[in-house]
């Protein structure tokens, strides 16, 4: 039960964190050119974004939930279970960021999720 709750927290926190960061980066806009000065200006905007720090906080929550999980259960159980984040992340991107997830993209996400799970169970 405790394991399940923390797994849920880990998957949701990592997904929500990445989605917050993505939203923040879309809002501040990318570097105009791939040149050092433009990239530094972009980094300045990124670090000034509240969404970036919300995402970083959620990633920290994910990190500590993972530490707790790894102290209770073997890594070969925890990593395959958190591979679910790939599917949850695609759902989050579709619902919250309004990205269009095509059938090909869904299939690819499912293959990656299965592959990560298999690589760690085997």
């Amino acid at each position: 039960m405790r394991l399940l709750i923390f797994l849920l927290v880990a998957v949701l926190a990592s997904t929500a964190g990445e989605i917050a960061i993505t939203h923040g980066m879309k809002k501040v806009g990318g570097p105009e050119r791939l040149a050092p000065r433009a990239i530094l200006a972009f980094l300045g905007r990124a670090l000034g974004s509240g969404w970036f720090w919300l995402g970083t906080g959620l990633s920290a929550l994910y990190f500590y939930s993972m530490l707790a999980l790894l102290s209770w259960a073997p890594v070969s159980l925890i990593v395959p279970a958190t591979a679910l984040s790939y599917v949850v992340g695609a759902f989050g991107a579709k619902l919250l960021l309004r990205e269009r997830v095509s059938p090909a993209r869904w299939t690819g996400v499912a293959l990656v999720c299965a592959g990560v799970a298999l690589a760690w169970v085997a």
């Binding site: 990205e99 269009r100 293959l111 990560v116």
Partner: protein, 133 residues
Amino acid sequence: MGHLRAKTLVLVVVMVAASSVGDIFLKQGMDRIPVQLDAASLGSAFAQTVTSGQIWLGIACLLFSFVLYLMLLSWADYSYVMPVSSFGYAVVALLAVLVLGESVTVGRWAGVALICMGVGLVGRTEPRTTEAN
């Protein structure tokens, strides 16, 4: 191949290469530092960690990779970047065998093969499906 997809894929490859090389540097650096769980040896392990060139190289690679990740997300979909970056599992498995001399089980290679198939599928979709603001 469109300009946006080419730019996105090149940055993904550099980002994944940087984080994989960073992980290998950290592993090599930490392998040389004996870590035991008492105050005295933890202190000396910490001192050796912050003075290790390999650890700092690893951290620099990972920071560089994170900057590229932020840049990618400023124009590409999260549902594109996230699955495509899992290509890193294949690179780390390969580097672990070639550089660190670790052995990788058949099951793990099968997982890596599935990951690569998924990356191939997602990589061919449109990197950005939301409108630019």
